[in-house]
């Protein structure tokens, strides 16, 4: 994996993990009964971001690959369901509107990460 891309992804996932964790901790600890599904989804996304950041740092490539794949599916699913079934979401999650509240970074980041990770796993990829 290219070291520059790897470290910048760690920074990006660290920042996003911090933002999502802060948001979900406040939501879950103060208003969980109002909108359990959105707040638990926010909590799960925060845990996923932290897991991916750790996996990238430790060099757990398959964990990072699966994590970013799950993240992308989550963003697309929650984003789409937010428009198709708005009644299911009494409040916003990190992934609502495909991450629009976070400048669409939650949508763009897993795509970038998957490109970096998959290019690194290609047989002709240059070793670190």
């Amino acid at each position: 994996m290219p070291p520059i891309g790897r470290l910048l992804l760690i920074v990006a996932y660290g920042v996003l993990g911090l933002a999502a964790a802060g948001r979900s901790v406040v939501q879950i600890s103060t208003r969980l009964s109002e909108a359990p599904v959105p707040y638990l989804v926010s909590g799960a996304s925060a845990a996923l971001y932290v897991l991916i950041a750790v996996a990238l740092w430790r060099g757990w490539r398959s964990v990072a690959l699966w994590g970013t794949g799950v993240e992308l599916v989550g963003v697309l699913t929650v984003g789409t369901l937010g428009y198709v079934r708005p009644s299911w979401w009494p409040d916003e999650t990190v992934w609502t509107g495909y991450g629009s509240a976070y400048g669409w970074v939650p949508l763009a980041l897993p795509i970038v990460a998957l490109v970096v990770l998959l290019r690194a796993t290609r047989p002709d990829a240059v070793a670190d």
Partner: protein, 138 residues
Amino acid sequence: MELYGGVIYPAVLVACAILALAGVGTMVQVRAHRVLEKAVTGFWIVTAIQVLSVLIVLIRGNDAGLVLTLGYLLAAVLLLPLLGIGRLGEPDAAALDPDPNRPVLQPDQIARVDGGAAVIVAIAAAVLAWRVFVILGS
């Protein structure tokens, strides 16, 4: 509150802009890493002043939610160590770690990682400062 809204908050945004520009400059031209290092030092100072000023505003009495405001301040502080993440790839630092997957960077790569991290942190810090500004009710 006037001091924070009129001086500190704009100063934080200017510091974020300088940090982001220095980060972009470093990614384009590695020689700008020295400028980035000075910008990072200045950013630590500006963030410390921001934290102190917000604490003073809260102590003097403000309707802002304490947990939320302190949470954003904590996040602003937690971002700062990411500005030096390139150092973790220095050969000396990597040699002390038994992890074989630890990235080892050349000096130009360290500069570019620091530049990219500076851009990400600058954007995140600007958003945090804006959120604190909104919460404090300006």
